[in-house]
């Protein structure tokens, strides 16, 4: 069986650092992770990249030749990849027990507006990959209940679009060590408490929405977060074991 982790999340939330951490962990634990760069705008890496989308198309070329801005350029580059998925297939090879980690671009519109990511996922599945989405969010940004909901919804909007097993990871936990107990209630939130907290902080017109949101999260236990502190090996193992579990690795 072949496995893929698709690493997604907003810009600057630590996707590349996540890939780097996983790569190092792979070296230490004698597991081979191959990193695939899918971000046509990436600059340089701290880790060896097996497949690099920039060999197919790079954002600089698109921006220069077609005179697009960074955004339009990225969408164009990704649509180009979408048309040339065969290229990716060749690059990925056909060995039977590969484990890839794909570093995706941060632009959310690639997931929610244009179907390219969805096509990519379906292609991977056709080629016999077990795909797991890893949605990375910066722990700094979910410091209050409203932002937590906001983070959940961002994850959810990717989840409904891609239809793959999903693991949500909170990065940069090493920076919030002081507030550990405060953060803990967000990993597996107590819905009633969350709603109460939300209501305290929003206008009365939103109470019903808060309630509905609470039951959405509750009904499907949709969104839970795994804390990741890249300096703590146990934390890395913990996150990885959840992902392995989600794609039935091993």
């Amino acid at each position: 069986m072949r496995h893929v982790q698709l690493v997604m999340g907003p810009a600057g939330c630590g996707k590349s650092t996540y890939c780097h951490t996983m790569y190092e962990h792979g070296l230490a634990s004698k597991r081979s992770f191959q990193i695939v760069n899918l971000d046509p705008a990436a600059e340089h890496f701290k880790y060896p990249v097996t497949v690099d989308v920039r060999e197919l198309i790079s954002l600089d070329d698109v921006m220069e030749e077609l005179d697009y801005g960074p955004n339009g350029g990225l969408v164009y580059a990704f649509e180009y990849l979408d048309e040339n998925l065969e290229w990716l297939r060749e690059q990925l090879g056909d060995s039977d027990d590969d484990y890839f980690i794909m570093d995706c671009p941060g632009q959310i519109e690639l997931y929610s507006h244009v179907p390219v990511m969805k096509n990519l996922v379906q292609a991977l599945q056709r080629w016999g990959f077990m795909v797991c989405g890893v949605y990375v969010i910066d722990s700094q940004f979910i410091a209050d209940p409203g932002k937590f909901i906001s983070g959940c919804l961002a994850c959810l909007s990717a989840m409904v679009q891609l239809e793959i097993p999903h693991v949500n990871v909170l990065t940069k936990m090493d920076l919030v060590r002081k507030k550990r107990s405060f953060m803990e209630k967000f990993y597996q939130p107590d819905i009633d408490e969350l709603i109460a907290d939300l209501n305290a902080d929003s206008n009365p017109a939103m109470y019903k929405l808060n309630q509905a949101m609470g039951s959405l999260l509750d009904d499907y236990s949709l969104v839970g977060f795994l804390p990741l502190n890249i300096y703590d090996p146990d934390s890395v193992i913990f996150v990885l074991s959840h992902i392995d579990n989600a794609i039935q690795y091993g």
Partner: protein
Amino acid sequence: MAGSGKTTLMQRIAVHIHNQQLPSYIINLDPAVSSVPYGCNIDIRDTVNYKQVMKEYELGPNGGILTSLNLFATKFDQVMGLIEQKADSLQHIFVDTPGQIEIFTWSASGTIISDMFAFSVPTALIYVVDTPRTTSPVTFMSNMLYACSIMYKFKLPFILVFNKTDVTSADFAIDWMTDYEKFQEAVQDEKAYAGTLSASMGLVLEEFYRNITTVCMSAVTGEGVEDLFDKIARAGEEYANVYRPMLEAK
């Protein structure tokens, strides 16, 4: 969202305020835009050179935009100073945000800038949707979830603009928003995994729709722009009645 026509919309707004002689300020916060087709009063590009930032800090396009915005945010009190001086004579202030939506929504500087506005003047969010690209129900849903996530993050009056109605009429979206059963049928036609989420998701979305205002317009032809200004005025009232007291309570 990138490519949803924010800049064209801004251009249309600029034309409208000029025609109606409404004293207004237009601010561009997108450091990566190649040219601004409307006269803007404050331009981030006058302060920060995005290409230079990329070179100097060895950043990719995303990191470059984020850093430029961060640099600008540190000087934003001066912008606010300018605005406060003129506050009595200005009717509107429009801010064009970077296309990478998460750079504004998932960053410290985005929060700083929006908070600065929210604390001093009536502020509303305008979320622009690319109508022709959201005709698939799943895309529509993930878009709405994202919009909802933004509303939770900023806690401000929210105006949803279905843009580009000259290409595709937004009637389908309005249908889906007013009658959830129709939307559910559409989802089920797609046979998506998301179909199974529908019950509580429906509740969330219905409440969300109740909390926001919607405008269908075409930035290219100018159709619907009066409606937009009506809704903006109403969002201002909403701010004064509901959000202002909340902010003061903080």
